[in-house]
Every structure is written in structure tokens, then in C-alpha cells.
């Protein structure tokens, strides 16, 4: 009887354990860094799974779609990692060599303005504000 119960429990565990993948969207944004961060250049920025370039006086940041994921047991999610909420997808090296890590969500929450039909995000003072 106890063996049957143990087998049932193992079966329940196996069938209730789910690994899933979530997929973040691609974000293609223009950012005005220099208004508040005159000392930061394009080479001070790092994007994990993405690209960066200079477009006129703005930085063009592209965060590519990325796979994240999680695990659940009996319907309860006990681990969930998402590429847009991970702090460190975007990082800035400050003049004092300290590294500021930000998530895509934090970057997208910066204030914006529209210039010539382009939406420009305005980066706040990063090196002191985020430390």
C-alpha cells in the first residue's frame, strides 16, 4: 500500500513539474544620454543580447527578443526569470569605473519627448542617481 502511495506521489511530482519559456519583446529605442550624462560615451554602455549605435546625437539601443523562463509545481510558480526585468541586461560604466546595472523595464520607464516624429527617451543622471 505504501509503495503504491509513493509511486502515486512520484508520478504526481513528475507530471506536475513544468518548465516553461517566456519570450520578451524586441525594443528599438532612441535615448538622449548627453543631456544628463555628458561624460558617458557609447563604449561605456553594454547590452546583453542586443545592439547599440549612434544615431545623430542620440544612442540607438536595440534589446533583442530573449528567452527567459520558469518552473512550476502543482500550478505554483516557484521560479520566473524574464529578460526585461533582469537587472544587468543593460549596464553603464561610470567615470569612476563603477558599473550601474539596469533592466530593460527601467530604461523604458525613462521620461520621453517627441522630436521630428521620433520618440526620444531622456536618460536621467545615471552615475549618481542609481548608485
Amino acid at each position: 500500500m505504501s509503495r503504491i502511495l509513493i509511486l502515486m506521489l512520484i508520478s504526481l511530482c513528475l507530471n506536475s513539474c513544468v518548465k516553461y519559456s517566456n519570450i520578451s519583446s524586441e525594443h528599438d529605442i532612441l535615448v538622449d544620454f548627453h543631456s544628463n550624462n555628458k561624460e558617458i560615451s557609447l563604449s561605456d554602455l553594454t547590452i546583453r543580447k542586443g545592439r547599440k549605435s549612434l544615431q545623430n546625437k542620440y544612442f540607438n539601443l536595440i534589446f533583442e527578443s530573449a528567452l527567459g523562463g520558469g518552473e512550476s509545481f502543482l500550478g505554483y510558480t516557484y521560479r520566473n526569470v524574464h529578460a526585461d526585468t533582469y537587472r544587468g541586461r543593460f549596464s553603464v560604466v561610470c567615470p569612476d569605473k563603477s558599473k550601474i546595472k539596469l533592466s530593460v523595464e527601467e530604461v523604458l520607464s525613462w521620461p520621453s519627448t517627441v522630436i521630428d516624429n521620433d520618440t526620444i527617451l531622456i536618460a536621467p543622471l545615471i552615475c549618481r542617481n542609481y548608485q
Partner: protein
């Protein structure tokens, strides 16, 4: 010439030295198992929206169930051609190689995996195959 280049790329991606034949062999066996698993066609294309929604309401792209060797593809997956192959390989390694998610490529900890951890990490296989097939 092509083979030499491929071998050196596998070697560097597997983070092994030139004399680490065991790790190269392990990688070859893993990729063969992965290939065979995908050829077995155990991919379920019609997972329902309800099955693809977590308790917190998140729509997922794909999932695998611990007791069932099937990759379930969700509606979200079909709208994302940019990560479709990456997701299939990732899930397939869970099913056929028993990998876990130690770290995703966009996490800092990914570059800190030791020389054996990539063999256990699902995203490492996706990254390897993506690197071997840059254009298709």
C-alpha cells in the same frame, strides 16, 4: 578546412582545452541525442491558451512537462519567428538531455559558468547551435 574551423569553434564554445577529448565527445553525444530527439517529432503544436497561461496570467512561449517527453508550443511561439529555433532547442535539451536552467545568455552569471556547467544548461546548447549556424 571547413571541418577544422567547426572543430575549433565547438572547442572554444565548450570552453575546453585542446586535450579535453572527453568534453568534446560529451558534446558530440549530446548534440546527437538532441538531433535524434527532434527527429522523433515529439513536438505538440496545439497547446491551448489556457495550458500556456501561468497562474500569474503570463502567456508563455513553450513548455515541457516533467513526466511527458513532449515539447508544447504555445500561440505566442508562433508569432515570434526571431526566437523560434532558439526556444525549440532550449526545450528539446530539457526533454532529451535533462538539462536545467542554470543561467540564460543575457545574465551575468552565464559568463561565469565553469567548464562543465554548460553541458547541464539549456541555454548553452541554444547559444552553441546559434553560433554554429549564424546564417540560415
Amino acid at each position: 578546412m571547413q571541418d577544422m574551423s567547426m572543430a575549433s569553434r565547438i572547442q572554444s564554445l565548450a570552453n575546453v582545452g585542446p586535450s579535453s577529448d572527453f568534453k568534446i565527445r560529451l558534446l558530440q553525444i549530446s548534440l546527437r541525442l538532441l538531433q535524434q530527439g527532434l527527429l522523433d517529432n515529439q513536438i505538440y503544436l496545439n497547446a491551448s491558451v489556457a495550458d500556456c497561461t501561468t497562474n500569474s496570467g503570463q502567456q508563455v512561449g513553450a513548455y515541457v512537462n516533467g513526466g511527458n517527453p513532449i515539447i508544447n508550443l504555445c500561440p505566442v511561439w508562433f508569432n515570434r519567428p526571431d526566437v523560434q529555433s532558439w526556444a525549440i532547442i532550449h526545450e528539446a535539451t530539457h526533454v532529451y538531455l535533462g538539462t536545467v536552467d542554470l543561467s540564460y545568455v543575457w545574465q551575468d552569471s552565464y559568463s561565469e559558468l565553469n567548464s562543465f556547467q554548460p553541458f547541464l544548461n539549456a541555454d548553452s546548447y541554444s547559444a552553441l547551435i546559434d553560433c554554429l549556424c549564424p546564417e540560415y
